[in-house]
Amino acid sequence: MIKNMTCEKVRSLLSAYLDRELDYHELRSVELHLIDCPSCQEECRTLRATKDLLGALDSPKLPREFWPELREKINSGSASDSYSRLLVRVLVPVAALLVLAILPLASATHTKASKSLTQARTNLVEPYVREHIISELDRPFSDKTSLGFVAAGQAVTMYSSDFLESYDHSAPHEVVTSSNRAGRRIQAEPFQRVMFLSPK
């Protein structure tokens, strides 16, 4: 379930968030927190910039003998492996029993937590209004110019509020939407779907 997150919690998840490693509920919690928290947005931008910078660096090449040596070390085993095996064989089943024992309690706590769900973090209505306007376009006497005017304004509001993210600044700079009698159809390459509500 979606939870209210503190800034501290959100910042601990930012790296995983940018790497798209969060599960659905964590992702939404982080995104909804970011809407209202300029300092975390700034933190997120800084982290993203750092990651981009690091990502641009060349990865060092591993020496040829790295993988054979690693495999040898894994196969040879060590004293600590025995302890690990013991832990796995004894402690893990005990842990499993404990989990089963506390399951009803955990479930109750979880439900309670979900019931104190998010506050109205956002009064975001633009996506709903936009969907409403798009559905109005199907009506036979709809004024498409008026509706297009409003829908375009909603898109700009959503983008300006960081709810929509641009995907590629270096995409082709010509968009053609036409076809001739011979059936020639020229279109710009379709843009990839962008993440909605992710920070710029």
Binding site: D138, R139, L164, V175
Partner: protein, 397 residues
């Protein structure tokens, strides 16, 4: 003398018999679209004449190519929005709209181009191009917008007949064109009404005035000048944008499906309001394309207007506002109502009277989660846990 008199009588009779037919031949299209005749011959009490006119508009307006300048003015609680635009439409699907700068608008030079399959919206003020596929490109959708519109026209016309008094109230000149003025008054109180000006030669709306449920004008849009069937090159539907402009892909709505199918597709229960405003029927619903706002969008219509009812699980607000309308605002002329119940949040968007929407909101029953996602995630967690446990054991062996 008698011969002359007989000849004059025959000539007079011939002219007299041809005269009423003459207006019919003033334009071939007028006769093709079987619109009512000149003002002298229009029977303003004939509701069917008005129905015939709007039926033609519903069926054929997109088949009329034109180039025009249009003004749009919207009144809402937060102020007035106005815009002047240049529009070129090449039947059946190519349309380009350029919004011109004006003192009452900040949307100057916004350009929107649609080819019936995609829409590109270039916003120079923020250096962005928004792109959206039409629903017809969704893999699960067999109907194009044109097909959908055709289907809706039939259904909507039946609903309009039932829910509105349609009357031909006048003929007027507008933008150098002669037009029928048609009024659509709701039979049920609390609904917006509309007045449209339909060109007498082409099945085309030249002007629309919309009035809110309180009778106040909420919007007006009209053509300042229009040229029908112009020569339009495909090149004008081409959008050249600078290389540094950002591209944004807008989410695409799915196909409208019946509610039972929608509930199967969604992993949550969709409570249906017990009260729907008189004259409205549920068209069906779609799942919201915004992944951060998983919600079902149920559409209701009376033929002319739409109510959008959104059910969003798992993002409920503060419980202090439960069962009460937690927000009521006027966004771009539409009223937006939001409230929460259980873990759900609900949103209604429409131009109907607020009291009707509130009544509708209050009739929504308590939602029951089909599969509680919190328990689901816990069970998934345990499944993963035991799977990993056995996997480790197997590896160890």
């Amino acid at each position: 003398m008698l011969k002359k008199l007989a000849a004059a009588t025959v000539l007079y009779l011939l002219i007299a018999s041809f005269l009423p037919a003459l207006p019919k031949h003033t334009t071939a299209l007028a006769s093709l679209f079987s619109l009512p005749e000149e003002s002298s011959g229009v029977d303003f009490s004939d509701a069917e004449a008005a129905i015939r006119v709007i039926q033609e508009v519903a069926e054929k307006s997109s088949s009329v190519s034109f180039r025009a300048t249009k003004t749009v003015i919207l009144w809402h609680q937060s102020g007035t929005s106005a815009c002047i635009s240049n529009i070129a439409h090449k039947a059946p699907n190519l349309t380009k709209t350029e919004y011109l700068p004006s003192s009452a608008s900040s949307c100057g030079f916004r350009t929107v181009i649609s080819d019936g399959k995609s829409t590109w919206h270039y916003e120079p003020s923020i250096q962005v191009v928004f792109h959206m596929h039409e629903t017809s490109l969704c893999p699960d959708n067999g109907k194009s917008r044109a097909d959908r519109e055709e289907y809706n026209q039939t259904e909507d016309m039946l609903l309009i007949r039932a829910n509105y008094e349609v009357a031909l109230v006048a003929t007027e000149n507008l933008a150098g064109r002669q037009a029928y003025v048609i009024e659509l008054k709701p039979r049920h109180p609390g609904n917006p009404s509309r007045r449209i000006w339909v060109d007498r030669e082409y099945p085309f709306i030249l002007k629309t005035e919309k009035y809110g449920p309180d009778g106040a004008m909420s919007s007006v849009s009209f053509y300042n000048q229009i040229e029908f069937v112009p020569l339009l090159s495909d090149d004008i539907f081409k959008l050249d944008i600078p290389p540094h402009v950002a591209k944004v892909e807008l989410p695409v709505s799915g196909n409208v499906i019946p509610l039972d199918e929608l509930e199967k597709e969604a992993d949550f229960r969709i409570p249906v309001p017990e009260f729907t405003p008189p004259g409205y029927v549920i068209e069906g619903g779609i799942l919201s394309p915004y992944k951060a706002f998983p919600s079902a969008h149920i559409r209701l219509t009376d033929g002319l207007n739409t109510i959008s009812y959104f059910v969003s699980p798992g993002i409920a607000r503060d419980k202090s506002g439960e069962n009460k309308v937690s927000a009521m605002s006027d966004i771009s002329g539409a009223t937006v109502l939001r409230w929460s119940k259980g873990d759900y949040e609900f949103t209604l968007v429409s131009e109907l009277d607020e009291s009707l929407l509130t009544q509708m909101a209050q009739s929504v029953g308590a939602p029951h989660m089909q599969a509680d996602s919190s328990q689901q995630s816990l069970s998934q967690y345990l499944t993963r846990f035991f799977y990993q446990l056995f996997w480790i054991e197997r590896q160890e062996d």
